[in-house]
């Protein structure tokens, strides 16, 4: 594929990835659709991902195909994610094969799709006949009466509890409410040792007892999640976390019917109609292996003849019709697991596939590995999204930069997306960061930047009039490494030069004022983001329960400790690093902070019906390592440097800050 070849070595990977996907598409076609592809050129091509079944219409596809030659026929089987094109000559079909493979096309929802083409002898596919429901799945119709449906819907108060923030979360798509145990979207698990008061609503209790007696369900659930889907809402394909919930997961559909898609890892998709007042019961394979999801759209394709009955929506062309969605509320009941999952599907099981959780590092080597995994790799993955949340420069930092004399040479160590590199045009600023992807963004903005490690900055000693290092040093996993980072900054300065350092503070509430990170804040658009750390000024927080004052897990180390190179956190050696809940106070100095990857990064990825069958989590979560600083800790560390003096030391929006001057 000449198009794909570039001088940059990275594209070799893209080619390999593409070939893998093309092969997978070929494999899936053969296994599930009875389409035999051949390795030699013929006049007929099967276009995987270019079908009516995945939202590609004739007027989108045909023009693209006609560009490559004379199209004798284009067969688009309804509800199939593929189509067949017959070219007049083999030369033309070869041309199409080479040119269109891997080509992006836009579907009717405006999403990008990648086409994969393969030669076939005939434009033929196996009629699926009766598709089977995923094993372990059943739908019980009319399990409750209309009166009960009304009562249940009325029992949900979406507008109450504004002062009790645990009970109401508003996600981008659907509205959610939890009972029994709160479900955490940070790690897609429940807080097992913190049940919510009140348990399940009484009205549900009697209903569940009835179902148990009548044999519709086998176990009594202790957790309930109520979801409200308005037309256009959906939920990405996922498997309910194995370690969180037992086998049987049941979901009651109220208010409106909906089509739920079940996907097998092989790529087979089974659309299942869930009528109003029906109970969906997922056990076994359907609970542990298949993903389930609801496509965000306002209409579903349904079987006209079956009316509102449950079952699979098959490809019987003459029988299909569109059904407008209404507001659907689901009551999903689950039983929380108290032991690790031991299912027969280890490859998709988080209990059985668990990587050992990271622990507090005990050597420089361990620290390096921890930083590699939980800092460097993460920033490379999240760079785009991260950069989009880092746009407003902080006033005190701007002040510092603007006060520097014109013509100063300034280094920004850990410059990230270059937020501060263009603040003062009178300065010559050079940024450096450990993340190639973040430095790329600096470059796009025409800044001078290079990639390096903050512990070994390749700049000659005493050459900088000033340095800044904002939200960087807290990513180093030992006190020695944090010291070394400070030493590097001091080394870069010329005598009289100044450095400004910001690190995340343990104390997120200072002098009775909560930092922006903790404070409740809403935009007029009601946009709420779940993730962030201090520099995410524009992130508006969800209301957070007041967890009271934080533990004083830190004692300011004496200067002796630093000089002898001893870590002040040695008491926590051998401890697993806790995972922090965003927007709450810190309970440990060394921890992992989640980042939910959203927006730009994943929007660019085209949807691929022949691609992998969805992830477990509605949005990928990355964990970043931090050592948050106690009051006085940064100062004490700076005091051990014998070539600088501390000009200023202050607290700024959840950060401890120091201005140093080289003597």
């Amino acid at each position: 594929m000449d198009r794909n070849h570039q001088s940059n070595g990275k594209l070799g990977k893209t080619e390999k990835k593409f070939l893998r996907k093309q092969n997978k598409a070929r494999h899936t076609l053969l296994r599930h659709e009875g389409i035999e592809t051949v390795s030699y050129a013929t006049q007929i091509l099967v276009v995987a991902n270019g079908g009516l079944g995945n939202g590609v219409s004739r007027n989108q596809l045909l023009p693209e195909l006609e560009k490559l030659g004379q199209v004798d026929a284009l067969l688009m089987p309804p509800n199939k994610p593929y189509s067949f094109v017959t070219y007049k000559t083999i030369e033309e079909s070869k041309k199409a094969y080479v040119t269109l493979n891997g080509q992006k096309i836009v579907d009717d929802l405006g999403q990008k799709i990648i086409l994969y083409l393969n030669f076939v002898e005939k434009a033929q596919w196996k009629e699926l006949g009766l598709q089977a429901l995923p094993p372990g799945l059943k739908v019980v119709e009319e399990i409750i009466s209309s009166e009960d449906e009304k009562l249940l819907l009325e029992s949900v108060n979406w507008t109450e509890d504004t002062d009790n923030p645990n009970f109401q979360k508003s996600l981008k798509h659907r509205r959610v409410k939890h009972f029994g145990y709160e479900f955490h979207y940070e790690n897609n698990n429940v807080h097992k040792d913190k049940p919510l008061p009140g348990g399940l609503p009484d009205i549900c209790d009697s209903m569940l007892e009835k179902w148990l007696k009548e044999g519709f369900i086998r176990h009594k659930p202790d957790q309930l999640t109520v979801n409200q889907y308005e037309p256009g809402h959906g939920i990405p394909a996922h498997i309910d976390t194995h370690s969180a919930f037992e086998d049987e997961i049941i979901s009651l559909s109220l208010g409106s019917e909906i089509v739920m898609d079940f996907k097998h890892p092989d790529g087979v998709t089974v659309p299942v109609m869930l009528p109003r007042r029906s109970l969906l019961v997922m056990t076994g394979e359907s609970r542990y292996l298949w993903t389930h999801g609801i496509t965000p759209r306002k209409f579903d394709t349904v079987q006209a003849s079956k009316g509102h009955k449950s079952g699979i929506i098959t490809g019987d062309v003459g029988d299909l019709t569109l059904s407008k969605r209404g507001i659907r509320t689901s009551f999903t009941f689950r039983k929380v697991r108290q032991t690790p999952c031991d299912c027969s599907y280890p490859l998709v099981c988080d209990s059985q596939m668990k990587e050992p959780p990271p622990s507090f590092p005990e050597s420089d080597k361990e620290a390096l590995q921890l930083e590699q995994k939980y800092v460097h790799q993460v920033y490379e993955e999240i760079a785009g999204h991260f950069s989009s949340t880092r746009h407003t420069p902080w006033p005190h930092i701007v002040e510092f930069l603007k006060a520097l004399p014109s013509g100063s040479l300034v280094a920004d160590v850990g410059c990230g997306n270059g937020k501060y590199l263009g603040i003062n045009k009178e300065l010559y600023m050079v940024g450096c960061d450990r993340s190639q992807n973040l430095v790329d963004i600096c470059r796009e903005r025409q800044f001078q930047a290079f990639v390096c490690d903050a512990l070994a900055v390749p700049v000659r000693s005493g050459s900088c009039d000033a340095c800044i290092s904002i939200a960087v040093i807290h990513h180093f996993a030992t006190a020695e490494r944090r010291m070394a980072a400070l030493q590097e900054l001091a080394r870069l300065l010329r005598p009289g030069g100044k450095a400004l350092i910001y690190v995340w503070a343990m104390e997120q509430e200072y002098k009775k004022e909560k930092s922006k990170y903790l404070r409740e804040n809403r935009t007029s658009q009601g946009r709420q983001e779940i993730n962030s750390d201090p520099s995410a000024e524009e992130q508006f927080v969800e209301p957070v329960p007041d967890t009271g004052h934080q533990d004083s897990a830190c004692s300011v180390p004496s200067i002796n400790d630093f000089q002898k190179g001893r870590s002040n956190s040695k008491e926590v050696a051998n401890c697993k690093l806790p995972i922090h809940t965003n927007r709450t106070s810190f309970h440990s100095q060394d921890l992992l902070v989640p980042w939910h990857l959203k927006g730009n990064a994943s929007k660019e990825k085209p949807t691929e019906p022949f691609g992998p069958a969805g992830t477990h989590d509605p949005s990928p979560v990355f964990h970043r390592y931090y050592h948050v600083f106690c009051e006085g800790e940064l100062e004490a560390a700076c005091q051990t440097l014998n070539n600088v003096s501390i000009l200023q030391s202050y607290y700024d929006q959840g950060n401890w800050c120091v201005i140093l001057q080289k003597v």
Partner: protein, 125 residues
């Protein structure tokens, strides 16, 4: 990477110290990107420039008209300042390499970005 940036860069390979400066510059792609001339700014840079390193780098890029050193009263010498402005701020190395003069280690410059990351062995004491 501008030449003023190159002037700051030094090899940080273990044990090399000040002998790691200047990095030997080779370029396969260079661009000239106009920058607004600010004489005051350029004048302030002059005392900070390591001249020998600048001349060596400019030579490797085959730049013409590079002043050999600050002239007397350079602060008012517009011709001088404009030449320096061009050399220091308008010449961008897009693709090339930087080599440590002491250890021989080569650092790539890709899309204008030098990658100065060392691997584990090179950073160990």
């Amino acid at each position: 990477m501008k030449l003023l940036t190159h002037n700051l860069l030094s090899s940080h390979v273990r044990g090399v110290g000040p002998r790691g400066f200047p990095l030997r510059l080779e370029a396969t792609e260079v661009r000239v990107i106009p920058v607004e001339f600010n004489p005051d700014f350029v004048a302030r840079m002059i005392p900070k420039v390591e001249w020998a390193a600048l001349l060596e780098a400019a030579d490797h890029l085959r730049l013409a008209e590079v002043p050999k050193g600050p002239t007397q009263g350079y602060e008012q010498d517009e011709t001088f300042l404009r030449k320096m402005h061009h050399v220091l701020l308008e010449v961008e190395v897009v693709e090339g390499t930087l080599q440590c003069p002491e250890s021989g280690r080569v650092f790539p410059i890709t899309r204008g970005i030098p990658n100065m990351l060392l691997n584990e062995e090179e950073t160990q004491t």
